[in-house]
Amino acid sequence: MIDIIDLILNTPFLQRALIAALLIAIIAATSGTFLVFRGLSFMTSGVAHAALGGAALGFFLQAIGLFPWFDPTLGAIVFAVLVAVITGYAGESGVAQKMEVAVGVSFALSMSIAVFLMYYIPPDKVLVLWGYLVGDILLMTNQDIVMLTITTILVAFIILLFKKEFVYVSVDYEGSLAHGLNARGYHYLILVISSIAIALATKAVGAILVYAILVAPAAASNETLKSVNKVMIGVFIIALVAQVIGIMTSFIVPVSPSAITGILAALSYIIALQIRKIREKVNEGIPEVIHQETTNIE
C-alpha cells in the first residue's frame, strides 16, 4: 500500500492519469448517463471522431500557415459541437433513425477529412492526431488536465443544476413542452455541453476509451439501478474503477490502460444484463412479493 502511494507521489504522469480518470468518470456519470437516457449513446462515437476531424483541420490550417490561430483543440470542439447540433436537429422530430443517419454521415465525413488531411500535416503532428483515436491516459500534459478540469466542472454543474429538466425532457419530450418547459433548449444544451466534454476527453485519452467509458457504464447502471441518482453514482463508480484498474495494470504488464478499461467497461454491461436476467427469473417465481413490498404510504 505504502509502495503504491509512494509511486503515485513520485510519478507526475501517474498523478495526471489518476486525476484524468476521476474527471472522465464525472463526465460519464453526468453526460454519459443523460446521453443514454436520451437514447443518444451512439452520438458519443460520432462526436469523438468529429473531434479527430476538427483537430486534423486545425493542424492542416496551421501547417500551411493559412489560419495560424486556428488551434487544433478549437477545431476539435467546433466539429464536435457541430455534429452534436446536426444530430440534435435531425432528432428533434423524434425520429431516432434520422439521428443515427446523421451520426453515421458525420462520422464518415470527419474520418475522411482526418485521413485526407493527414498527408499534408507534419509527421510529428500526425502522431498527436493519432492520439485523438488511440490516446493514452498516461501521456497527458498539464494543459490537458487544466482544460479537462474546467470542462468537467462546467458539465457537472450544468447537468446537476438542470437534472430534473433533463430527466423530464428524456421521459416525455412532448409532455414537457406542452407544460411550458423549454424542452428544445434543454435538448440542445445537453448535446452542446456533452459534445465539448467529449471533444476534450477525446483529446486527452482517445476516442476509443471515451466511447467505452461514456456508453457502457451508463448502459450497465441503467439496466440494473432504479433511480436516476443511483444510476449516476453507479456510472461514476464503474467508470472510475475500470480506469484505475486499467492504469494500475499497465504498470504490472505491458498493456495499454485504455484496452483494459475498455474491456472492463464492456464487461460491466454484460454483467448488468446477466443480473437483470437473474432478477427477472426470481421475480417470475414469486409474483406476490412484488405487490406487497411497497405499501409504506403514510
Binding site: 437514447g39 421521459v171 441503467n222 411497497t294
Partner: protein, 272 residues
Amino acid sequence: MANDSGDDVPLVEARDLAVRYPNGELALYNVSFTIKAPSFTAVIGPNGSGKSTLMKTILGLIHPTRGTVSVMGYDVVRESKEIRKLVRYVPQRDHIELSIPMRVKDIVLMGRLLKKPAPRFASSMDKKAAKEALARVNMLELWDRPFPELSGGQRQRVLVARALASSGPLLILDEPLAGTDAESQKLIVNALSDYQKNNNVSVIMVTHDLNPIHVLVQNVLLLRNTLLGVGTPCDVMDTELIKQVYGPTAQIVEHSGHKYCITHDSGVDRHD
C-alpha cells in the same frame, strides 16, 4: 386577443384548420369547430385520422399549415406560452420513454413540478396533491414502484393522475383508455368526470371507444382527417356518419329506446 372577461371566450376554436407534416402527409384539413368551457369533449376516429395531430396543434406543438386555432382566446402559434400555463397534457402512452428509472411518484410529481419555476423542488403540498391524484385512480399503493415495471393499464392510470395532480383549466388526454381493462376504464373515467365536475375544468379526450364515456361528454368530434361530425353523442350517432368514418361494416342499432353503435373500434356502444 385574449381577455379574461370569462364565459364568452370559447375553450377551443378552430377555423379552417389544415395541418400538413413535413413529409407531405396532410393529416388534417377543413377543420372548424368551437368548444365552450367547462365541458367534456371526446375526439374519436380511426387510426391515422389526425386525432393526435389535432391535440398537438391545440397545444402549439405543431403549427397549422392553414387556418387558426385558439385556446381560451390565445392563438396557438403566437401565444403558445400562455396556453401552456393553462393546459395539462397526457400524450399517447407509447410516447413515454420507459428506459429512464422513474418511480410512480416521480411521474405524478412531474405534472406539478413542470409548472413550477426552477429548481422545481417538491413541496409537501406537491406531494399531497400527487398522492390525492393517485388515490383517485386507486394507485396510491404503487407510490414507490418503478414506473416502467407497471402494466400498461397501470401506467395509463398513473399518467391520468399526473394530469389530475397538475394545474390548469384544460386537460388534454390522448387515448388514456388505450390498453386498459374494463375496471381501469371505469376508474379513469370516473376519476376524470368527478374531477371535471368538482373543479370547473374542461377535458378533451381522444378515444377509440365512446362506450365508457358517452354519458359524460357534451361534445364529440368525429374525425377522419377532416371533421365529419360534431355535436352531442346523440348527434354523431348517425348511421351514415359512422359509416363514413369507420367503413361500411359500422352500424347503429336501435333497441328499446337506446341507440347502439357497432364498429370494429368500439364494439357496441349503447346510447340513450
